[in-house]
């Protein structure tokens, strides 16, 4: 039956993460963007919230939590409200751990999940996007070809969060002779495998505190057991993984958009021009009203896709439409937030220009976060 009410537990989780984002993440955001580094103590503190380790099996130190996409969306939104780079960094290990948790073979789960239930932050990475302007998930150029008792991979990836920081990377490639999303295979590749080259830190317009890398695979050979889901990869539901990723990125977009809207609203009430706060002028007030509507609309679309995932249904269309909507809305909202602050919005002191730079990436980035 229709309901827009969070459970008691979700409210608690939201409030906890929101307070953390407000008190710990946000104050560190500007310095992190300028320096290109998120303070490790902050990373460790975030790890302590248990956001990654929850669903990890208790035998590895996790809590056997049932994964819930709606809760994941709530968490993602609050973290991103603090800072998008930090949010992605803190949740990045999920990109490696959760596909293995859900779709890995028993052997893979035993082998790789151990560190993610521990006390300290454990980096993990997944390589999905490729450096083409029209990159499409169903048309990867990275290819995996069968070769004897294993596979040979060739291709190029970009925007891989924490590649250098992780000992293993989950690389997705098109299976030779196959096509579309169902033709994608996942491979756990140790960073020091022959044929793997990881670039220096990428330099991007936004997400400057987030360590991302290019990854090149040249005749990179891996054994059968490295294929996610076993030799035939039968358990890999790449489409679902991408729906989960879109929900997470969509939720993060809501967080950034909300941050910008609330900041602009507060500024407009204080800033005076022509004798009164600029918020008393319709041009500004209507911009803010539109922002408020679009933040709420974006969230509902993301939650709808998340709820579909939680029912176990196919959320491709909903997550795709939702994520695209949020990316566009977040861009418009952050842009208008800069506009409301005028010249001051342009200076790298108020956070709005940073949020605009961060939000701009949402429309092109895929798979760098998951619920």
């Amino acid at each position: 039956m229709v309901s827009f009410e969070l459970s008691e537990e979700q409210r608690m989780i939201r409030d906890t993460v929101a307070a953390f984002a407000r008190e710990e993440i946000r104050p560190a955001a500007r310095a992190a963007d300028e320096s290109g580094t998120i303070p490790q103590p902050l990373i460790e503190k975030s790890w302590g919230l248990g956001l990654v380790s929850g669903p990890i099996p208790s035998e590895f130190g996790g809590l056997d939590d049932q994964r819930c996409a709606v809760t994941g969306a709530i968490v993602a939104e609050e973290l991103a409200f603090g800072d998008l780079s930090t949010a992605i960094h803190v949740l990045a290990p999920r990109l490696f751990a959760y596909p293995i948790l859900e779709m890995g073979s028993d052997e893979q789960r035993k082998r790789y999940l151990g560190s993610f239930g521990g006390e300290k932050f454990a980096a993990g990475a997944a390589a999905i996007i490729e450096p083409r302007f029209d990159f499409d998930l169903g048309d990867m150029s990275a290819i995996a070809r069968r070769d004897g008792g294993g596979y040979v991979l060739n291709g190029q990836k970009c925007c891989v969060p924490l590649a250098r920081e992780s000992s293993e990377i989950l690389v997705y490639a098109r299976m030779d002779q196959e096509s579309g999303l169902s033709g994608i295979g996942g491979f756990v590749i140790a960073r020091d495998t022959d044929g793997v080259t990881i670039s220096e830190r990428e330099k991007n317009m936004g997400l400057k505190a987030l360590a991302t890398y290019e990854l090149e695979l040249k005749d990179c050979r891996v054994d059968n057991e490295k294929r996610l889901g076993g030799v035939s990869g039968e358990k890999l539901n790449f489409s679902r993984l991408m729906s989960e990723a879109r929900v997470a990125l969509g939720a993060m977009g809501v967080g950034v958009a909300r941050a910008a809207y609330e900041y602009a609203r507060g500024y407009a009430k204080e800033r005076k021009a022509f004798g009164r706060p600029i918020a008393t002028r319709q041009a500004i007030a209507f911009m803010l009203a539109d922002m408020a509507i679009e933040v709420d609309a974006s969230r509902l679309l993301v939650w709808q896709a998340a709820a579909t995932l939680d029912k176990g249904d196919d959320a491709l269309k909903q997550s795709y439409l939702a994520k695209n909507y949020v990316a566009a809305a977040a861009l418009k909202i952050t842009d208008n937030a800069v506009q409301v602050l005028g010249g001051h919005g342009y200076i790298r002191e108020h956070p709005v220009e940073m949020w605009l730079r961060n939000a701009r990436g949402l429309s092109s980035l895929e798979g760098i976060a998951t619920v």
């Binding site: 229709v2 309901s3 827009f4 969070l6 999303l181 991408m242 007030a285 509902l300 709808q304």
Partner: protein, 411 residues
């Protein structure tokens, strides 16, 4: 728990409304658009009879009691049901939907501001006998958005209120006052100098002397719905026809009736969404016939222009619908929803205006032709951006609320 699934019972009701929209309403849609002042009497009688049967069924099942299924437990989502059904009927035809007999906005005002005796006396008629209409008359030639500036007066004279003034844009005004044993709720001021505090709602019965429908408008769309101009010239109504208190210091009446917007704005959003969905489905089916596929999941850089446009239309409609559902649900669970109702209405009005205009564009010369209903849906959609509070007024309401400004601080 966050949940977007309608209950099985509501799905059933929605599907029934859909078949009525598809089989009864759609076939006559074009006719009543072309013949603006003809009356779809057969449709009215059919829907009225069906509603009475429904009332009887609901009454008897309430009498019989019985176990509610697991899905039915929990708050009754009456407002949500209303907007779900409204969307279906307006998918059929928004004008014909608005033309349907029933308590309408006048009934809503009575339910919001009347005392128990008034509610019984004035609303009973909508559950029995021949079809009747309830209407609300607020707008005047000189004031629309600025409803606190009404100049229609009500002055006490012995056992009566005497009403003088002109009202325009009154939905179903003609059917309420001349076409049935209906009524209209008129906003009039007891004291122009008192501003909002002086404005009260008065029930004026059909065929009351001193009141006449002087004009029924010719409109861009929703042509099946009569939009009346009414003149009141020393129109006398009994003293107990004022809804709520006659005291001027209390703002009760005005505020109470304004509060009905919290319920009606999501309904207007749903009207728009029904029309928007009609247009969207038409375009989708048309594209499918032309073998143009819409490839969800594909990189946005690889989409054709038509795919991008269509997906944009689709997600805008979904966003509008979710906002409307939320607003209705909040009212159902007892939460204040003025902000959310305005958001829903503002979003739907704008989004569906754009969706329907884009739909006409996408179909080229075929979209422009009166051979298809698509041009009509664009004309029907536009009103939702205007009545029940224009998009701009709703943005103003939203802005005031999010900024915590009074109407004096943000004009």
């Amino acid at each position: 728990m966050i949940d977007f699934d309608l209950s099985p019972e509501l799905v059933q009701r929605r599907d029934l409304a859909h078949s009525v929209a598809r089989d009864v309403i759609r076939p006559i849609s074009r006719k009543y658009d072309e013949h603006e002042h003809e009356r779809p009497v057969k449709l009215w009688e059919l829907i009225w009879a069906a509603s009475r049967q429904n009332d009887q069924r609901a009454a008897s099942s309430a009498r019989d009691g019985g176990e509610k299924s697991e899905a039915e437990k929990g708050p009754e989502l009456r407002n949500l049901a209303t907007i779900v059904l409204t969307e279906e009927l307006c998918w059929g035809d928004a004008g014909l939907f608005l033309s349907l007999p029933g308590p309408g906005l006048g009934g809503a005002a009575i339910a919001a501001a009347g005392n128990p005796e008034q509610k019984e006396r004035f609303l009973k008629r909508f559950k029995e006998g021949a079809p009747k209409w309830g209407a609300m008359a607020i707008t005047e030639p000189g004031c629309g958005s600025d409803s606190a500036a009404v100049t229609t007066t009500a002055a006490r004279d012995g056992d009566h209120w005497v009403i003088n003034g002109t009202k325009i844009f009154c939905t179903a005004g003609q059917m309420a006052l001349e076409g049935s044993d209906g009524l209209v709720v008129v906003w009039a001021t007891l004291d122009k100098t008192a501003g909002r505090a002086g404005i009260k709602p008065f029930v004026v019965e059909h065929h009351t002397p001193g009141m006449s429908v002087v004009r029924v408008e010719n409109k861009l769309g929703i042509r099946a719905s009569d939009t009346a101009a009414i003149v009141f010239e020393d129109c006398r109504v009994p003293l107990d026809h004022i809804l709520g208190s006659a005291e001027i210091r209390r703002e009760g009446g005005f505020k109470d009736v304004m509060a009905t917007f919290d319920a009606t704005r999501p309904v207007v959003a749903a009207m728009a969404i029904g029309v928007g969905r009609a247009a969207l489905e038409f375009v989708r089916d048309f594209l499918a016939e032309q073998k143009v596929s819409i490839r969800y999941g594909l990189s946005q850089r690889r989409l054709s222009a038509i795919e991008r446009d269509f997906m944009e239309m689709e997600v805008q409609l979904e966003a509008a619908r979710l906002l409307a559902w939320r607003a209705a649900w909040m009212m159902d669970v007892g939460q204040r929803n003025s902000l959310e109702a305005s958001m829903a209405k503002a979003k739907a009005g704008l989004a569906v205006t754009q969706i329907t205009q884009k739909a006409v564009e996408l179909l080229g010369p075929l979209g422009y032709s009166r051979r298809f209903l698509i041009e009509k849906w664009m004309r029907d959609a536009k009103i939702n951006d205007i009545f029940e509070g224009t998009q701009q007024i709703n943005l103003l309401i939203i802005a005031r609320r999010i900024l915590e400004y009074s109407s004096k601080e943000l004009t």
